[in-house]
């Protein structure tokens, strides 16, 4: 969805040029039909409503984003538990093996002496 506001000449009326997605366009057409307005008035009304409810819509969107983020967060923590455990266990096993091998070498040396 893209849009721009422009006027061709200095005193000419302002044109709003906008690409909407199909669903928004359908809703806009339905709004015009429902309220029996012409396109210009309908667009001005819609824009004014959009400006008035801007923060409410941002809040609504943020609430949705928060629930999505919460879900992702749970997923990441679950994965992190497993992945960190794998990393730590590998480190533990490696150092354990090294110690054992070291002990083994020492005991061999001692027995040779």
């Amino acid at each position: 969805m893209l849009g721009r506001i422009f006027r061709k000449k200095k005193c000419a009326p302002v044109t709003i040029d906008v690409f909407l997605d199909r669903a928004t366009n359908d809703r806009f057409r339905a709004f015009i039909e429902k309220n029996g307005l012409d396109e210009n008035t309908a667009l001005v009304q819609v824009l004014e409503r959009g400006m008035a409810n801007y923060w409410l819509q941002i809040f609504k969107q943020m609430r949705q984003n928060y629930s999505l983020l919460e879900r992702s967060f749970k997923e990441y923590s679950k994965d992190n538990e497993v992945l960190s455990e794998l990393e730590q266990q590998t480190d533990r096993l490696r150092s354990f093996l090294e110690t054992k091998l070291h002990e083994k070498t020492l005991s061999t040396h001692r027995s040779m002496e």
Binding site: L47, F59, L93
Partner: protein, 165 residues
């Protein structure tokens, strides 16, 4: 030599004209296109509002139209307004904190996933060796012992290729 030049020209002519292609695509764009003339006062108001919010016209105008066409009734909007007044600050705080923590976990998971194949093979071989040489009894068994290639690929897709979030 002339034949070679002619061949090159022909090859170049056969290549698609990029500008023409983009213009044709713009003309045949499937998205509905509105071009409406409105009063300059209303347009100024919209322009000022977008400037104030730091939104470019390109994205701001369709966004305002979308917001203006939202389905909420006045009653629902009032309810949302009262919720916003009571929850906004707390929600911002929780959201920012969770985003920060989620980012930390994500980067940590990415770091481990980058070396996941190596870690897994090392883990398996260490366990095998400890078991074979009877150095550790019992050798721990974990969920990653049975991981197939698909599991590691999923981790890669999620954390390295970042097809999520």
């Amino acid at each position: 030599m002339k034949a070679k030049i002619r061949r090159l020209y022909r090859k170049r002519a056969a290549q698609p004209n990029t500008v023409g292609l983009i213009t044709a695509l713009e003309k045949n764009r499937k998205e509905p296109h509105l071009k409406i003339t409105i009063q300059s006062e209303a347009a100024e108001k919209v322009k000022n509002f977008l400037n104030e919010k730091g939104l470019p016209e390109r994205w701001g105008v369709p966004l305002l139209i979308e917001y203006g066409l939202s389905d909420e009734t006045e009653k629902e909007l009032d309810k949302l307004k009262s919720e916003m007044q009571s929850q906004m600050r707390e929600l911002w705080r929780k959201y920012a904190l969770m985003k920060f923590k989620a980012y930390g976990l994500f980067t940590e998971n990415t770091r481990i996933t980058m070396k996941l194949n190596m870690l897994l093979s090392e883990n398996w071989s260490l366990k095998k060796r400890l078991k074979d040489e009877n150095l550790l009894e019992p050798v721990p068994s974990n969920e990653w012992d049975g991981w197939s290639k698909t599991v590691t690929e999923n981790y890669y897709r999620k954390y390295v290729c970042k097809n999520r979030l």
